[in-house]
Amino acid sequence: MKTRARFHRAVAGGAALVLGLGLAACGGGGSSSGDSDEFHVLVYGDAGNRVEKRLVATFNKTSEVKAVLDTVPGADYQQKLQTVINTPQAPDVFFNWGGGSIQPFVEADLLLPLDDMMKKEPGLKSNFLPSVFETAQVDGKSYGIPMRGTQPVLLFNNKKVLADAGVEAPRTWDELLAAVKTLKGKDVTPIALGGGDKWTTMMWFEYLYDRVAGPELFKKALAGEKDVWDGADSRKALDMLRELIDAGAFGSNYDSVKFTDGSSPALLASGKAAFELMGSWAYSTQREADPDFARNDLGYSNFPAVEGGKGDAANLVGNTNNFYSVRKSTEHADAIAEFLKLMYSDEFVEEQLAIGNLPTTTNTDKFLDAADNPEYLKYQYDLVDKAPAFQLSWDQAYPPKNMTPIYVAVQQFFNGQLDPDGFIKAMQALTTV
């Protein structure tokens, strides 16, 4: 697997397509390798691999059947996974985002439902926070075990800027609108937005829809009920967003700004902006780019409540966690069950916390005091623990081919190319199967 050349994205599509075709042609769903005493674990290649390596080593110390860890550099992960998943090179266990990211695999009958495994080992379910665990369920069956940290989206702020303007972190939508007005008067961009990344813009929709319509609307939409996009709640959420945009909350050049190149975090850290809605990873992003700011002036709160809205103000959106799923045709289901039990071990929790990830096991809070930023971790853990609903990011909840249409729609609504009718039409055109 490692020796196969990584194909560069820019290579003409044809060559890669053919490579894929060739792989598919020789794929027969056979076992992953000739060796009968090992199974392969495929993970997204990044700094987090340190923990995965340690756990595999721990597992291999006592197990007859050995685990082999394969990593694929982040940007290529999903392409690579989709290409190998039904070939003889397919992994037995693999990293994913739950939701729509595994739905095509479930439909292709490639994944093992873990319910039988959990009947034998109830801990595989009971040791995880339910709102997170549910993300990897498809049609009522479980297909994943949480295996990294949770990433709820929070409303970050620059404490100093807020103090200078006499503004507090808003608890309600009206407070947010008022804060925007005050901050504009102080010549500060109220909210930093890296619209060039597009998924950043999407997070505003996710939260507002949740607060106004409750988590039900999106659940129904995802189940194929396209009418919900044209309901009163949907239109109200869009109107409120429009009001915020027109109030100048995001300035006017947000689509030229990115989070991923460090620009929007720099806006917040430098005090040119007061707020940024971002996944919990923003904390470590800021800590790396500007440690003083992260330590002294980086504030955070949950997304404001919307008065009269149907959604609980404690609901969250974001990436609930990453998951390990198991391929149906694996020969080592029992050994894999043992391996997955490590995902709620003390060692796992400690190792994840050490690299800044917040695991979603029920025993996590025991270890938070020993971490180097316990306050932030505890705040997050409490949010996730108490969240009545935790909505997976829209682009991950829908099957992959909808990602671009969603990004286009949210960007066009923000910059005025789409009105509410246009946005609703775009969302109704998404495919749910």
Binding site: A10, G13, L17, Q82, G196, S256, D261, S263, M403, T404
Partner: protein
């Protein structure tokens, strides 16, 4: 087999490696892509035959049609902006002075950088709050270059001009150096000024080079990809979603390989047709060699 044939020309066997390579890496993939364009395939399982579905969808897809126009627009803008610039630069660099050699070496630096590096660099330079626009608000306003249709297209043209003008200047430099000096000496005797010399000697003599350069720009322009991927990701909305990027989005972001293959094939057809048109219109195909005895 590889021995010279009777008439002294190299045997056909010498072409074998090239033919095999071409077949393996160009013809076979092209045929497979063509087959794939009549299937639906997500990368999971085997491709399923879908008849003309992908093609019908494609021709009714507003984004697809817009992307073709955008590709043509960007290509045309590239030709219009880069050609005069690179002719002037190339002709200037063809002169004899030593400082020109040094300067032209500096001009060629952008060509040595990968398109990805170039795009990342420009993205940073044009960042509205911390880059150049923030220092020159009188010129850039709020700096919303990449988030605005016109601005984003202008940036894409600027970046590819910055990167590829050196290549075309190089072509013109070589061609300009090959112009016989006697022509200029004769013109000078007749009293023609430098501007007149340029328009009546240099430019006509560069005709072949211009055609070569334009064909390269057209094919390169239609298949531009990296700059869009890094600078705009097809945005804002679909305003810079050129065909090559749309193909990538369909195939590798959305895992609709059948649709992606159809776009790829369409791009091949369009690019081939356009370069054939350029060759035809310019009369390149009928042009006799200017060398003695050829």
């Amino acid at each position: 087999m590889a021995s010279p044939s009777k008439d002294g020309r190299p045997g056909i066997g010498w072409a074998l490696p090239a033919v095999v390579f071409f077949a393996l890496f160009a013809v076979v993939p092209l045929v497979l892509v063509a087959v794939l364009s009549f299937t639906t395939w997500s990368g999971l399982g085997s491709p399923e035959f879908a008849g003309f579905d992908n093609w019908v969808t494609l021709f009714h897809d507003p984004v697809m049609i817009k992307s073709l126009w955008l590709s043509v627009l960007l290509t045309a803008l590239g030709v219009v902006v880069q050609t005069p610039l690179s002719i002037l630069l190339g002709v200037w660099a063809a002169g004899p002075q030593r400082n020109r050699a040094v300067l032209s070496a500096v001009f060629f630096v952008p060509l040595l950088l990968s398109a990805t590096a170039v795009s990342v660099l420009w993205r940073a330079l044009l960042e509205p709050n911390f880059g150049i626009p923030s220092q020159a608000t009188w010129l850039f306003g709020d700096g919303n270059l990449l988030g605005d249709r016109t601005g984003a297209i202008a940036v894409l043209v600027l970046v590819s001009t910055w990167q590829f003008t050196p290549l075309h200047a190089l072509i013109y430099q070589g061609a300009a150096r090959a112009i016989p000096a006697v022509l200029y000496q004769a013109a000078e005797i007749d009293g023609a000024g430098r501007v007149r010399q340029f328009f009546h000697i240099t430019l006509p003599q560069l005709r072949n080079a211009i055609i070569t350069s334009v064909i390269l720009m057209v094919v390169g322009g239609l298949t531009t990809f990296d700059t869009v991927l890094i600078l705009t990701q097809g945005g804002p909305g679909t305003d810079t979603t050129i065909t090559a990027y749309y193909m990538y989005q369909k195939a590798f972001k959305g895992f609709e390989f059948g649709a992606g293959a159809a776009i790829a094939l369409l791009l091949v057809v369009v690019a081939t047709a356009v370069s054939l048109v350029v060759v035809r219109v310019s009369g390149y195909d009928k042009m006799a060699g200017t060398k003695e005895g050829m």
